[in-house]
Amino acid sequence: MNILSRDIPGKSTLLMGNEAIARGAIEAGVQVCSAYPGNPSSEIIGSLSQVAEELGIYVEWSVNEKVAVEVAAGASYAGLRGLTAMKQNGINVASDFLLNLNLTGSKGGMVVVVCDDPSALSSSNEEDSRIYAKLGDLPPLEPSTPKEAYEMTRWAFDLSEELKLPCLLRSVTRLSHARGNVEFGPLLKERPRPRFDTSRPSIPLPTSITHKALHDKLKKCKALFEKSGFNLYRGPERPELLVVTAGPGWLYVLETLMNMGVENRVGIVKLGTTWPLPRLFLLEHLKKVYHILFVEEVDPFLENNIKEFCAEEAGHLGLKTFLGKASGDLPDIGEINPDIVTEAIQKILKISYQPRPLQYVQKATEAASLYAPSRELGFCAGCPHRATFWSLKNALAMDGRDGIVLGDIGCYALGSQSAGFNQLKTVHAMGSGVGLANGLGQLERFGLGQPVLTVCGDSTFYHAAIPALINAQYNRSNFLMLILDNSTTAMTGFQPHPGTGKTAMGSESPVIDIETLCKALGVQVRVKNPFDVQDTIETIYELLQNREGAKVLVLKQECALVRAKRQKALYKVWVNRDRCAGKECGCNRLCTRIFKCPGLVWDPVTGRGKIDEAICTGCGTCADICPQSAIVKETT
C-alpha cells in the first residue's frame, strides 16, 4: 500500500516535496486532481494517480495546463476541492483562464501548484511564476521545506474556500525534489456531493463588480496573512542586517549564518505568504534595521514589493538600504545556494570567511576528471530520436537548400545539440515549432528558398500543436512536420497521453490516433519507422520536394526505455572486429564519433568500436549506418 494513502496520523515520513504536496491535498480532502506533466512538478499528480482509486478520488493527465486548471475549476464550481499542478511554463498556458477565474472566483477549495525551475535545469526557460500572483490577485504560498509544503497545501484549500478564490502554491526544483520529514495528519473522511448552483453563474462581467470583489477578497486575505504562522522572524532584537527570504532561500540563509557564526548579528524575516504582503508583521521587523538583504529565487518579487511598501511606509520606517538583486549583491538570474548567500553576507558584514579550502574546487574537478567520464547530454541508447535526427540531417544535406528545422518541447529538444547533430534551430514553448513553421512556411512568396521543417512529439502534438496545424492547413502554409511518436510523454517520466490508450488512473481509453486526426484535417500524412533509416531519409527528402501546404510525417517508434521494460531487445548487436575500420580512412569512428549512441563504445586498446551490452537496447540502427557493415544485428 502506498504510504500517501494511509490514514496514520502522527506518523513521521520522509517525503519528497512533491509527495508532501500530494499528501497535503489528500488530507485536505481533494477530489479532483489534474495536470499536464512538466518537471519539476510531475510527481505531484504522478503520486496522486497511484492512490486515486483506493482513495476514491479522480486524477487525470490533462492534455495541457489550461485544460487541467479548467478541470480542477470545474470541480471547484461544483463544490469539490480541486488541485492542479504545473511547471512555470504551464501557468503561461493556463493564464488566459486563470485571469478570468480570478474575477469569478471559485467555490470548493482550489489550489494551483506551480513549480518553478530556477536555472532551467529541466526547462526551456527561466521564469518566476509569482508574477501571476500579483497580476491576477491570486495569493501565493511559498513553502521552504517538504513539511511546509505539506502544511501549506492543506491550508491552501481552507484559505481558498474562505476567500472563494483559487490559491497558488509556489515550489521550486530544490523543494519539489528534496526530501524531508512530514508528520501526517488524519485523512478527511467526509466528501461533499458535487452540485453546480445554476442560480449563481460565474461570469467575470461586469468587471466593475467582479474586479472590485476580487480586491475585497485580497484585503481579507491580507488580514489572514498577518496572523499566519508561515511568516516568522528569527534573530537578535537589534540585528545589523535583516534578511528577507522565502522558499528554500530560508534554508540557505540559516545554513550560512550558522556556518559563519553570525546568527547574533543577522535577523531573518521568513515569509510563507508573499502576496499580499503582511504589512503589520513587516513593519514590526523592518523597523529594526537599516540594511535589508533579499534572498529569493529568480525575480526580485519580494524585493520590489517590499521596496514599494517601504516607500509607502517611509514615515514609519525611515531610510533603508536595500541589498539584493538590484544592488548586485546577489545574482539576478538562476538558482541561489548557500555559497552565493555566504558571499553576499560576507561582503555586507565585511567578514572574511572561507567556506572550504581554497584548492577544493580544483581538487574536486581533478578528481571528477579522473573517475567520471566526460559526457554531453544525449539521447538514451536505442532512442528513436537519434535515428530520426540522423535521417533528418542526411535528408537535409541531400536536399542542399539549408533547410530550417524548428524544434519543440520534449526529449527531442536535445536535437539542438550534438545528440541530435545540431539540427534544431529554434526551441520555445509547447507547440511553438509548428506555430513558427506556419510563419516561415508563408515566406516563399518573398523569396525564402529554404525548406521549412518542424519536429514535435506525440504528447506535445496533443498539447498545443493541433491548432497550429489546423492554421497551416487552412492558410496553406508550406512545411514538413515530423511527429516523433514514441507513444509516451518520455521527458517527464512516461505519463500516458491520448495516444497511449491509458489514463492516469490506469484505465483504458480509445486512442486518439495522430494519423487519423491529421487526415481528418486534410493534411497529407505519411507514417514511417525511424529505425528504417534509408526509408526515412528518402521519405523526408521526397516530402521536402513537395511545396504544397503542410505535410506530416509520423515517425512511430516506442521510447527505448518503455520498450525495454516491456520486451527483450529486437536484435542482438555485435561488432565484427575484423571488418571494423576504426579510425581508418573510410570510417573514422562514425559510430562513436558522430552517431554516438551510448550503447556503442570506442575501445582504444583494440582501436575498434564495440557494443556495451549492458546499455545496448538492440534497436539495430547502428548496424544500418556502419559503412563497413562491421556492426552485425541478429534477430533475437
Binding site: G400, C585, N588, L590
Partner: protein, 373 residues
C-alpha cells in the same frame, strides 16, 4: 596546410567550387555522397590524411611527377600528352553507330574488351530517366549500349569503382572524362591506394572533354526550355554550327545556342588543362572531325593492342586522321591549357593552386598557343 584529408578537400576544392564531380572521393566513407547530380557532405571527418584528398583531381596535381609515374618520362608533349598514334575511327555496325553519341567507338572497344576477357567489368556512366548521371558496372558486353550517349553533365562515375562490390581478381575497364582519368592516375600513385580498387583497373578509355555542366541548374533551364516535355537526347554539333540539339520524347528538336548554356559549365572545368584525357590508354572524341567519325588517340601498348584487335575482328573501321584535323586537335587541346592557366592566374591560384607546373612550362604553354578562333 597540414591536413590532407576531408577538411582540406572541403577547404581547397569544395568551398572554392573546384569539384569536378568525378566521383573519386565517393563511396569510400560515410562523410559524403552523391545525390541527384551533386556532391553532398553528410558529416565532418577530421582525419589528417584521407583518400578523398589524395585521389581528387583538384588537389595537388604535379604533372611532371605524374608523367614520370605513368610513362617513365618527363612532361614534354605539351599539346595533348604522350601518344603512339592518332586515327579516325567508327564502329563497323551501323546499328550501333545510330545508338551511340557519335561513332560508337567507345562502346565497341569496351564491349570488345569485355568479350575478349581483357576485362571482366566495365565502369561506365549511366543516365537515369531524369538525366542524373551515375557510375554503373557492366559485366555483360551486350549491355554496354545502355550507357552510351552523353548529357554533357558531370557525373560521379568513379563512385562505382569505389563501391563495387568486386569479385576476387576481377579486372576493370573504365570510360572517363579527363578529370576522372587524372583521378585514376592519382589513385594509382597514391600511398593510400591499399584499400582502393585501383589495382584492378586494367583499361582506361578517356573521353575528349572541353567542359561539363552542373546538373541542377542545367536541368532546370532545360525543363523550362522544353516546356515540361521529356528530353531524349542531347547533342552538341561540331563547329562551325556549335549548337546544343535537344531531342524530346515526342521527337521535337530544339536548337540551343551554346552561349545560353555556358553559365552552367562547372567552375572546375575552367581550370582544367586536359582536353584529351592524357593519362588514358586510349582517348576518343570529336574535334572538327568528319561527321560520324571519332578521333582516337592511342597512348599505351594495351590501348594499341585492343584497338588493332578490334579492327582485325571487324568491329572497328579506321582511317588516318587528315593532317588538317590533327592540327586543329592539337590547337584546341593547347588552347584549353592556355585558358586554364589564365583562369588560374585570374583566381590567384597559379602559384598556390592545385596545379604544380614549372614556370618554364607555364611560359611555353602561354606563348605557344595562339587563339585559334
Amino acid at each position: 596546410m597540414d591536413n590532407k584529408g576531408f577538411q582540406a578537400l572541403e577547404a581547397s576544392v569544395i568551398k572554392k567550387d573546384l569539384c569536378t564531380f568525378c566521383g573519386a572521393c565517393l563511396s569510400l566513407c560515410p562523410y559524403m555522397q552523391s545525390w541527384k547530380g551533386k556532391w553532398v557532405k553528410l558529416d565532418n571527418c577530421d582525419l589528417a590524411e584521407g583518400r578523398c584528398f589524395a585521389y581528387c583531381p583538384r588537389t595537388k596535381v604535379d604533372l611532371e611527377n605524374l608523367h614520370w609515374e605513368a610513362f617513365g618520362q618527363s612532361y614534354s608533349n605539351l599539346e595533348m600528352g604522350l601518344f603512339k598514334k592518332v586515327k579516325m575511327a567508327r564502329a563497323s555496325s551501323p546499328a550501333l553507330r545510330k545508338k551511340a553519341q557519335t561513332a560508337g567507338v567507345v562502346s565497341t572497344l569496351m564491349g570488345f574488351a569485355l568479350k575478349e576477357r581483357f576485362i571482366n567489368g566495365a565502369v561506365l556512366t549511366q543516365r537515369a530517366s531524369d538525366h542524373v548521371p551515375s557510375g554503373s558496372v557492366v559485366r555483360n558486353p551486350d549491355k554496354i549500349l545502355s550507357c552510351a550517349g552523353s548529357s554533357y553533365v558531370a557525373g560521379p562515375t568513379l563512385e562505382a569503382l569505389n563501391r563495387g562490390p568486386w569479385e576476387d581478381k576481377e579486372r576493370i575497364g573504365i570510360v572517363g572524362t579527363p578529370c576522372q582519368v587524372l583521378a585514376l592516375r592519382k589513385m594509382k600513385g597514391s600511398p593510400l591506394k591499399k584499400t582502393s580498387q585501383i589495382d584492378r583497373v586494367s583499361l582506361i578509355i578517356g573521353l575528349f572533354c572541353t567542359w561539363a555542366l552542373t546538373y541542377d541548374a542545367f536541368m532546370k533551364y532545360l525543363k523550362n526550355k522544353v516546356n515540361g516535355g521529356r528530353i531524349r537526347k542531347l547533342d552538341i554539333t561540331p563547329p562551325p554550327e556549335r549548337l546544343l540539339k535537344v531531342t524530346t520524347n515526342d521527337d521535337r528538336i530544339l536548337d540551343v545556342s551554346l552561349d545560353e548554356i555556358r553559365p552552367f559549365i562547372r567552375t572546375s572545368c575552367g581550370v582544367c588543362l586536359d582536353m584529351t584525357s592524357e593519362f588514358s590508354d586510349l582517348s576518343v572524341g570529336t574535334v572538327e572531325g568528319v561527321e560520324g567519325w571519332s578521333t582516337v588517340i592511342i597512348r599505351s601498348d594495351l590501348g594499341e593492342e585492343i584497338f588493332s584487335r578490334a579492327e582485325a575482328a571487324g568491329r572497328i573501321e579506321s582511317r588516318p586522321l587528315p593532317e588538317e584535323n590533327f592540327k586543329h586537335l592539337k590547337e584546341a587541346s593547347l588552347l584549353k591549357k592556355k585558358r586554364a592557366l589564365l583562369k588560374l592566374k585570374e583566381r590567384g591560384e597559379l602559384e598556390d593552386g592545385y596545379l604544380t607546373l614549372s614556370s618554364e612550362l607555364i611560359g611555353r604553354i602561354l606563348s605557344e598557343v595562339k587563339e585559334a578562333e
